[in-house]
Structure formats: C-alpha cells, structure tokens
C-alpha cells in the first residue's frame, strides 16, 4: 500500500487495507483440507478427477452389456417377456431373414454411394476453404459448415420436405415451365441426397486439416516444374491428402450405415436402413431380443469402422497429447 499510497490520510478511518478477506479464508480452509490429503494417496487425485467421466461412459458400457444380454434371449410372445435361457436363436434367425438381408444390402449400397459423393464434393469445398486468400470467404464457408451441424437432422429433413414435396419449391418451379408435379419424396435417391447433404460438413471438417497441412509451396513447385493443374492435383495434392480422405470416408461411412432420421423422414417407411429395422423391432413388433441382436450387429459393424479410423488417425482425435 505504501508504494501506491499517495493519500494515506484518506484511509485513516477505514480498516487496514491488509484485512484478511473472506475469500482468502475460504481458500485457506480448502488448502488445509488439501494438505490433509495423505502423501501416499497422491496418485489417487488424478483418478478422482477422471472418475466422473469414466462413470458417465460406464453407463454406455452397461447399456451395451444389457443389450448383448437381451440379444441372447428369445421373446416369448405369449407373455411378451424375454426368455430365461440363453440361445443364439435371434442371430440364427437374422441370417436367414429376407427383410434383414434386403435392409443390410440397402444400407451398405447407400453407405458406399454417399461416401463416394461426399468425398467428391467435400474435396473442392475443403480446398477452397484452406486455400482462399479471402478471410471473408473462409469465414462464410466455415459458418456454412457449422450452422447445419447445430440445426439438427430433423429440422434439416423438414426443410427438404418443404423443398421437395408435391407442392414444394421444386415442383412449383417446374410447374411454371409446364412440367410435373413429380413425386420426389420417399424414394431411395432422395434419401441418398439428404444423407450426402447431412454428411458433407463432417467430411469437410475431417479433410480440411489434412489439406491445410500441405504447404502451398509444394503445389507451386509442381507447377513450376511444368505440371498442369490437373496433374498437380492427381499426383501431388491427392496423395498427400490421403490420411484426411480416409478419415473423412470412415466418418461418413459409419454415420451413414447407422443413420435413422433421413431414411425415416425422407424415405417415408419404404427405404428403411438397419437402424429403422431396430426401431421397428422394439416399437412395432415388440421383439426386444431380435431388435437387440440387430443393434449389436450394427454396433459391431460401426465400431469396427470407427476403430479403423482411430488406428489410422491416432487417438489424437481426442486432442489429448498427454502429460508433458
């Protein structure tokens, strides 16, 4: 105080400025408690900090265990209870079930096509995003990626219903030139279209860091060595962007394979994917056993693909570099 105190007289009537504040007392008390912590249990602190998160994810693990358990029991349709005994009957039934095969096939073909189209479209978007000299364009392109992510799938699918419906935007426009109306909704291509639009931001966000990591000088070097733009793209940029392309493909593939909302809303019940089949088993047929079996197969499929992604990209995906 003496250093700053140009007006010591003004403070005369007040308590001394060095009074011990309440917040300090609280902190001291906390420190005292912390000091009581036995030195031997020093290592337990980090586990205590980690415990809540481990418990939260533990719910998911517990859920999967309950699901696996249910998938091994057969539904008794006289009592609507799962049987007491374990059996693989649900899985056996799955592999001989025509509807399952058709749905699996439909989901897999969609996964392949959506992944292909997403990569094709995400590449120029990510390229423009990372290479543009205009900060404003970059910002606009970034906001365009994040906005749909936060808008949510149902609202976006609803937007497509308004655009593609019988009296939707597209059919109104076609009507002006004397065409249509066409039945655009509730078809397989529409579901694929909705999925591509939904997955595009994920693909761009996985691809962009990989493209950003390629120095522009390398492209200029290729050009100065006489490579055309196309040749530079094919021989230099694409091979260097491969990790990003693989990551984008795997993310899009897992999300597409296991999607529910787009087939349900844009497919109108006739273009179901595996997740819709699971939902129907629980809420329409009330067969929790068979539903659990499909869900488990789907979980294993999805987790395998995602595991490949982690192996390829490293656990750095969580952004944790560990202690330094």
């Amino acid at each position: 105080m003496a250093i700053r105190g140009g007006r010591p007289a003004a403070r005369a009537g007040r308590p001394p400025a060095t009074a011990y504040r309440l917040s300090w007392r609280i902190l001291d008390a906390l420190e005292a408690v912390a000091a009581r912590w036995p030195a031997r249990a020093e290592g337990a602190v980090k586990w205590l900090l980690l415990a809540p998160a481990l418990a939260v994810v533990g719910l998911l693990v517990f859920g999967l265990v309950v699901m696996a358990d249910a998938s091994l029991r057969v539904m008794d349709f006289r009592t609507y209870q799962l049987g007491e005994d374990y059996s693989t009957a649900n899985y056996v039934r799955l592999f001989g079930w025509g509807a399952f095969h058709a749905t699996l096939w439909r989901s897999l073909v969609a996964t392949l096509l959506v992944t292909l189209f997403c990569l094709l479209l995400a590449f120029p978007y990510a390229y423009a995003l990372t290479r543009t000299a205009s900060a404003r364009l970059r910002r606009v392109l970034l906001v365009g990626l994040f906005l749909p992510f936060f808008v949510g799938q149902v609202v976006r699918a609803y937007g497509w219903l308004v655009i593609l419906g019988q009296q939707g935007l597209v059919n109104q426009a076609l009507g002006l030139v004397g065409l249509g109306p066409y039945r655009l909704l509730f078809s397989y291509p529409t579901v694929l279209f909705g999925l591509v639009q939904y997955m595009l931001p994920f693909a761009v966000l996985m691809l962009a860091p990989a493209l950003a990591a390629i120095p522009e000088e390398i492209e200029r070097a290729a050009a100065s060595c006489g490579a055309s733009r196309g040749r530079t793209l094919l021989r230099v940029v694409l091979p260097m962007a491969r990790p990003g392309l693989i990551a984008a493909a795997l993310v899009v593939a897992t999300l597409t394979l296991t999607d529910f909302a787009m087939p349900a809303i844009l497919g109108g019940g006739t273009n179901d994917f595996l997740a819709n089949l699971v939902h129907d088993q629980f809420f329409r047929t009330s067969n929790a056993g068979l539903g659990s079996a499909i869900a488990l197969v789907l979980t294993l499929l999805g987790t395998t693909v995602a595991g490949l992604l982690l192996a390829a990209a490293g656990v750095g995906a969580l952004g944790l570099r560990g202690a330094r």
Binding site: P124, Y158, A213, V315
Partner: protein, 262 residues
Amino acid sequence: MRQLPLAGGVALALLLLLAAPSLVVAGASLTAGGIVQFPPEGLSLRWYGRVLEAREVRDAFLRSLEVATVCTALAVPSGTLAAIALARWRFRAALAIQLYLLLPFTVPLIGSGIGLMLLFGELGLLGRVWPVGIACCVINLPFMIWAVAASVNALDPELERAAASCGAGPVQTFLLVTLPAVAPGILAGALVMFVLALNEFLVSLLLVDARTVTLPVQIYTQIRAVITPDLAAVSTVYVLVAAAAVLLLDRLVGLEIFLRSR
C-alpha cells in the same frame, strides 16, 4: 476467388445446398397463408403466435430445455476434470483410457440409444425427462473433453508452477490459475453440449414416451402426420439458436481452429 475458379464455384454451390433447408424453413414460417410454401404467400408472424399457444409444442420445448440443462450440468464438471487429469498427469493405461472415453463416438447412436433404453428400463427411469439429459451427456461427452483439452494443452504449465512458487497451494492454483485459463474451452464445450442436447433426436425418440416428448421428437411426429407452418416456426427457432451458437463459438475459440492440422 480468382485463383480458385473451380473449387470456389463448387464450394459456393455447396454452401447454398447446405443452407437451403434452414433458409427455406425460415422463409416458410413467415407465410400468411395456411399451407407451407416457399416463397411464402404474404408475410406474417401469425404462426409464431400459434406456436406460443400450442401447448404440446411449448411443453416439448420446455422439456428439451430441461434435457439440455441436465446434459450440460453433468458434462461440464465430468468433462473438464477428465480433460485436465488426462492433460496434466501421466496414466499408465493412457491409451486404453482415451479409447474408452471415445466409446460414445465409436459406438453408433442406435447402439448407445438402445443400450441406454434397456438399461434405464431396468432401472425404472423411462418416461422421465432428466434421464434423457444424462443420455445426451453420455453420447456427446467426447466433445466436452475435446474442447477443454484443447485449452489445457494451450496453457503453459510454467504458469501453474509460477503460482506454486509464489506460494499458492494446489487448490488455489487450480481455482485461480488453471480454471480461468481453460474457461474459454469449458464455455465452448458447454455450448456445444447444450445445443446438441437441444437437437438430439434418435436417443430422445428411444427414451421418451407420449407424455415426455422432446421438441425434435415432437417435430418428427408432426411432420409424419401433416405439415403445417407452425412447425416451420418452431424449426426456425432451432435455426436461430444454431446461428447464435455458431457466432458464440466463433467468439470463444474461433472457428478457424478446426482448420489447423493436428
């Protein structure tokens, strides 16, 4: 733009494609007519008034707010502490812990959703609103950890050591140095968790019953029945919330960090 004619052109066309559903929903909600169409037939806010009167929609919105609040309240402490622990201490099984904490991302939503539905069913928690919030926290927790971890990694450990050498105890250092330094990451994570829980559809659909529908489920059920402009008004609320979230996130951490290579 001049250097990137093709990529730039494609990107702008895709931008339009990405924005189209949101723009059309917002436009359709302003119609004065009785059916959903775009461009709207005359401008009016009457469908917003209709939404405020519609009890079902209003209740569903309040339930979604409760879900998002529960989710964020659970995610902030658990995610923050875990991120700090993982970034500041060395764990023997670090790889296994990280893979475990990433499970919510590697297990498909339909799998986690059905699993949690069966688990909550056994625990007698179905048909209530707050367990949906817990489920949303479970499936999105890696986002929270990720956001905080980015801040912790950017924090120079020397700062904490300096605090300690100035006589601050561990609690004081944690509360007055570490936490304020990672606050932007915590806020960004909380924001993401809140908005994603507000939007969560599939897991909500599996966990709710007719009395506890959340707003995304309400929208889903209504578009399957009949499409009316009041639904466009509700959806526009989501678009506005999303826009606010993106702007806030940009302020807090800057969207450009997503372009940085890891």
